[in-house]
């Protein structure tokens, strides 16, 4: 089972998380190492904070988090569990390196917005724009610009991640060096 690529504009209510949410909180090893099915992984999303999270989340919900979201393990099951639980995008003040890469690789929109966690409350409605890479607070219209990422990564994200990209183009986005010019 795979999910369709993300929409360009994503609107949803927000779950707010603190700094340093690590991958063992997002999905503990003992669960992620015992299945290869993303739907099963989603049942353990955010288990370290709330084992019932998967029952409470609604499709299209968003995450806003503090610094260093997704620290620790290389487990791609972490963004996969979040994505398949129904979360449409993750906005964080900063991401841990591997989690950030994995998010692009699987087509989970991940936007880095310094300072955003203090500006957003649980259940605030946000609008994430993958075209101009911004986040808008719907109630007061406040707009946050996410830190820029290279064009080839944004393209990869919009196409839904590496599997979808490769199936369509029979190549990886970084294999064509010209795709790298003009990146930030």
């Amino acid at each position: 089972m795979s999910l369709s690529p993300p929409s360009t504009i994503i609107r949803g209510r927000t779950w707010v998380w603190p700094d340093d949410v690590n991958t063992d909180i997002i999905i503990p090893f003992r669960f992620k190492a015992r299945t290869n099915d993303p739907v099963e992984m989603a049942k353990y999303a955010m288990y370290g904070f709330d084992p019932e999270f998967y029952k409470k989340v609604k499709p299209g919900d968003l995450f806003v988090a503090g610094r260093n979201f997704g620290g620790g393990s290389s487990r791609e099951q972490a963004p996969v569990a979040i994505k398949y639980s129904g979360i449409a995008a993750v906005v964080a003040e900063s991401f841990a390196r591997i989690f950030y890469r994995n998010s692009f690789a699987i087509g989970l929109p991940a936007l880095e917005v310094p300072g955003i966690a203090k500006q957003v409350n649980q259940w605030d409605e946000l609008e994430v724009n993958l075209q101009d890479w911004t986040v808008k607070k719907v109630n007061d219209g406040m707009i946050f610009h996410a830190l820029p990422v290279p064009d080839f990564l944004r393209g990869l994200m919009r196409e839904g991640g590496l599997v979808e990209y490769y199936k369509k183009h029979r190549t990886f986005p970084w294999e064509n060096m010209r795709a790298l010019t003009g990146t930030t």
Binding site: R34, Y47, S74, N102, W174
Partner: protein, 425 residues
């Protein structure tokens, strides 16, 4: 061009090795740029490999780019503790057979690669965050996820952002009872959990020459806990001697230029360090072992990729010899590789462990990731030499995890609470 890059005074280790490898050494890549790196080695283990195999198949790729450069390692839960894990192990073995790639079972990947495959100047991508361990011998080694691993299997290449670098000068000499693990625990306490995020750490200074390859591997491995991309000890006499004894040759010896730019610089005088303990949990501060009270430890776990090498087990043997593990505390010792396991059995260390009352297991990640051989129950307290003290890491989310060196862990197992190892040395 390669020689010009190697001799460039202004480049960091990361800038040099990426420039040498990307585009065949025709262009200098500076921090912040994107480059495409060909892989010399690609490793996935039994908790990241199955997902990579699934993704590889979903992409519709028929053949891997180079079977000899691809390593699958069954190490996280070995041998399989239950049917679900066993079935994922079967998936790995079938893929290995189908693609003709390499398979090892029952040694932790990072230690297995260090003992048998990785050499200075290599580019190693590993679907495991602690892949950065191989920076200890001057390799570009970094962790990635399963889908990117599938892309490496398919194409042999991956994009990287050239990281900024942080230099740490190590000076002075250890006091008794202080080890490499205490350096890196102290460092993480100083810079914080994201203090090295996206960065390349370079370990320099007069004290480096006294650090063994095992000690450097401990530091490079555990550097992941501040988020780094690379953690590098450049090749020196110690590295050269190590590769002479195991009869493998470097691809390149890369040295950062003397005028290279570092985003931050730190200095650690080893003589000022005390045995360090971090916990309970990653939100706690790093403190000296002597600052803890006599809270009961249910478990002491010694081993893992961070501290399961022969050098570590020797220190543990020295402390445990002739003593008994405190009643009510279980002590589990898990070596990092089959090689370390066999050495410990042949030279009598295993006997010392068993006589003390410890459990001596085969090599596996095991208790570190809460998968088997030492899982923690509700509200239990553990002192561990493994890399992470996250909530729920080793089992129950209510369990408390402290981290320390093997020496501190061994002394603590004897006393049943966190203890300073110096009275046993």
């Amino acid at each position: 061009m390669s020689q010009t890059i190697l001799n460039d005074d202004s480049l960091t280790f990361a800038e040099k090795i990426i420039s040498l490898k990307a585009d065949g050494g025709r262009k200098v890549h500076h921090a912040g740029e994107i480059a495409v790196l060909p892989a010399d080695l690609a490793m996935a283990q039994d908790s990241t490999g199955p997902l990579a195999i699934k993704v590889f198949r979903e992409m519709g790729v028929q053949k891997v780019w180079d079977p000899k450069k691809i390593h699958l390692v069954i190490d996280h839960s070995f041998p399989a503790p239950d049917e679900k894990v066993a079935n994922l192990h079967i998936l790995i073995r079938e893929f290995v057979k189908q693609q003709g790639v390499r398979l090892v079972e029952g040694s932790i990947s990072h230690q297995h690669l260090l003992e048998n495959h990785v050499v200075p100047g290599m580019v190693l991508f590993g679907a495991d965050s602690h892949t950065c361990q191989a920076g200890a011998i001057g390799a570009f080694a970094t962790g990635i996820g399963s889908s990117e691993m599938a892309a490496v299997w398919a194409s042999g290449k991956l994009w990287v952002r050239v990281p900024e670098s942080i230099k740490t000068n190590l000076t002075g000499q250890f006091k008794k009872g202080v080890y490499a693990r205490d350096i890196i625990t102290h460092f993480i306490g100083m810079v914080g959990e994201d203090g090295g995020n996206y960065k390349s750490l370079e370990w320099k200074g007069s004290a480096v020459k006294n650090l063994s390859i095992s000690s450097r591997a401990c530091i490079s491995n555990n550097s992941m806990e501040c988020g780094c991309k690379l953690s590098i000890f450049e090749v020196d006499r110690t590295t050269q001697d190590y590769f002479k004894t195991i009869n493998r040759k470097a691809m390149f010896e890369v040295h950062a230029g003397p005028k290279a730019h570092y985003e931050e610089e730190y200095e650690i005088d080893l003589g000022t360090l005390e045995p360090q303990v971090w916990g309970p949990g990653n939100e706690s501060k790093v403190r000296s072992a002597g600052e803890f009270g006599d809270d009961h430890l249910d478990e002491v776990f010694i081993g893992s990729s961070t501290n399961g090498r022969y050098e570590d087990l020797q220190v543990v043997g020295k402390i445990l010899k002739g003593h008994k593990i405190k009643a009510g505390t279980r002590c589990i010792i898990t070596p990092a590789s089959r090689n370390v396991f066999e050495r410990a059995i042949k030279d009598g260390l295993a006997e010392t462990f068993l006589e003390s009352g410890a459990v001596f297991t085969n090599a596996t990640c095991g208790a570190c990731v809460g998968t088997h051989l030492g899982v923690l129950g509700e509200n239990e307290t553990c002192l561990s030499t493994s890399p992470r003290n996250y909530v729920g890491r080793m089992g129950a989310t209510t369990a408390k995890i402290y981290l320390s060196s093997p020496a501190t862990a061994a002394a603590s197992a004897l006393e049943g609470h966190i203890a300073d190892p110096r009275s046993y040395l």
